[in-house]
């Protein structure tokens, strides 16, 4: 039954192809159109402020990213971003092949950004307020979170809905030692497509609704298990070794909600993330770590473009952001570390000289539940995007 269905659809596909002639649909485009070049960069000055001790400021070309996209034909495109981080570290941030079947169905494979929250996918400095990315998007969503995988994406035009659905490689929880920790949660487990090991495939999905002008809502979900080096080479009937390897695996479910709204010069955004981790008790005992069993955090941000009424593409946006994030929201078998229950406040201003060029300045206050004091930091930054 299934086979005949496959045969029939193959025949339909092939016959339609021939009726239309060989790719008459394909309008060959100018060579200059085939290659797109873009990029973004973030140059920061961070100065911790303390009344008690001297502290170095830090000046850093935090990121410099070159984007290349090459279109082979109307349907097939390759996109990559090469990133220099802190000048000397080179990463591939994205590298995927996209095949557009139609508007609502694209096949995509390669090194993909995990669609979770706002900043992991939209991380160009001209798209967000503040010199640094929100800390929620570092501690809980380990931006820039990307892994090798494949799946489908597309937009349903009538519904103003975009979806992404990918099967991807997951975090590495163990490789000669534990990779995940209480303070940074999953961040140390990112494999980034660099000789990554695969033991358990993970599923990542996101829906974005943009049907109300000015508003964009996102719902992200991620589920799977972490990867471990310990299964490699174990005989398939060795239960003791398998049980040991099992102890180094964490089950992970993460949810994200995000919203962006802009109207009459006002810009608002917010994001909430919740993650539930299984087997942390065994993992912590096995790897000597303090990984929490629940992660939770959110931020809300508001800004206003003072040049909104002027007829200029420039923007001058003061903003304030409030963040709460806790990588020990819940723990299993260990004591909660209150220092991981953090509150960050950021207030500053950005001057967009053009849509893709911005100067930023802000002050940040970092606090946590283990102390009454906030540490302070001044940030100045240059952001570009083209």
């Amino acid at each position: 039954m299934k086979k005949s269905l496959l045969l029939v659809s193959m025949l339909i596909g092939i016959s339609v192809y021939f009726v239309n002639g060989q790719n008459t649909a394909e309008k060959l485009l100018d060579a200059e159109d085939k290659l797109s070049i873009g990029g973004y960069a973030q140059i920061d000055y961070n100065q911790p402020l303390s009344s008690d001790v001297h502290q170095n400021g830090k000046m850093d070309i935090h990121r410099l990213v070159m984007m290349f996209a090459y279109r082979f034909n109307e349907r097939t495109q390759f996109v990559t971003e090469i990133e220099y981080e802190h000048v000397s570290e080179v990463y591939v941030e994205q590298a995927f092949l996209n095949y557009r079947i139609n508007n609502w169905l694209n096949f995509r494979g390669g090194l993909l950004l995990i669609p979770m929250g706002i900043v992991n996918e939209y991380h160009e400095p001209a798209t967000y307020n503040g010199v640094e990315r929100p800390n929620l998007d570092s501690r809980i969503v380990p931006t820039t979170w990307r892994e090798i995988g494949a799946g489908f994406t597309g937009t349903f035009q009538q519904l103003d809905l975009k979806y992404q659905l990918y099967l991807v490689n997951g975090f590495k929880s163990y490789d000669g030692g534990g990779k995940l920790s209480g303070g940074n949660a999953l961040r140390g487990g990112r494999q980034k497509g660099a000789e990554s090991i695969l033991t358990h495939p993970n599923l990542s999905t996101k829906f974005d609704y943009y049907g109300i002008p000015g508003l964009r809502l996102g719902l992200s979900a991620y589920t799977g298990k972490t990867q471990t080096s310990l299964y490699n080479g174990i005989p398939k009937d060795d239960q003791a070794l398998e049980a040991m390897a099992d102890s180094s695996v964490i089950g992970l479910n993460m949810l994200g909600l995000d919203a962006r709204y802009s109207t009459n010069g006002w810009v608002f955004r917010g994001q909430l993330n919740y993650a539930s981790l299984n087997n942390t008790d065994e993992y912590n005992a096995f790897a000597g770590k303090d990984l929490g069993s629940q992660l939770f955090g959110y931020y809300v941000e508001a800004g206003y473009d003072l040049l909104n009424k002027q007829s200029t593409e420039q923007k001058l946006v003061p903003f304030v952001r409030y963040e709460k994030h806790n990588t020990h929201q819940k723990v299993d078998g260990i004591a909660k570390n209150l220092a991981y229950d953090r509150t960050d406040i950021t207030a500053g201003i950005g001057w967009w000289m053009a849509a893709g060029a911005v100067l930023k300045a802000d002050l940040q206050w970092f606090g946590n539940e283990a102390t009454d004091d906030y540490t302070k930091q001044l940030n100045l930054g240059i952001g570009i995007w083209f």
Binding site: D33, D208, G265
Partner: protein
């Protein structure tokens, strides 16, 4: 077994949709105007036979943004202009059309082909609706035009395009 079923289902889906895409894809050079007429008649809810196009190649309409411009005739009566234009998103170019009435005010904007998946949100009908009636005045992205998160470059590009093309068309002595 389950995997095999999933594979078969996906393969069917791929094959059918590829076939459809071929069937409804753009034609060769002379089919381009047929396609425009088809789009216009569909969007304006009218019969295809009512429309005729006459290609214009006046110097005053030369622009990097414009692919071509046609005079639109409806029931043999001049009834506006249709412009095929090109914009640039984050990863790639895209094509859109603007239909102007006889007063050279925007009647309709439609994104025809968006190759990259990034920024495809600008094809939203509700978002494009806000350009209807535009006649060449102020048009700043984020001010007069509602911003669309996640599609900043594409949206910025189409806003600049619509403004420049409208002004070009209005200043052109046709």
């Amino acid at each position: 077994m389950v995997l095999r079923k999933i594979f078969i289902a996906v393969a069917c889906l791929l094959l059918i949709s590829t076939g459809q895409a071929q069937l409804f894809g753009a034609g060769a050079e002379d089919a381009a105007s047929k396609r425009l007429i088809k789009l216009l008649s569909k969007e304006l809810d009218a019969d295809r036979s009512e429309f005729a196009l006459e290609k214009l190649d006046e110097h005053c309409l030369q622009s990097e943004l414009i692919e071509d411009v046609s005079r639109v005739y409806r029931d043999q009566k001049a009834s506006g202009f249709v412009v095929s234009a090109k914009g640039k998103g984050r990863n790639d170019h895209f094509n859109y059309l603007i239909y102007f009435n006889e007063d050279r005010e925007v009647e309709l904007v439609k994104v025809i082909s968006y190759y990259s998946d990034h920024g495809g949100e600008i094809a939203s009908k509700r978002w494009l609706q806000q350009f209807v009636g535009y006649d060449g005045g102020e048009l700043d992205y984020g001010d007069e035009v509602q911003a669309i998160s996640g599609a900043t470059l594409s949206a910025g590009s189409i806003v600049v395009g619509i403004r420049e093309i409208t002004i070009l068309l209005q200043d052109c002595n046709l």
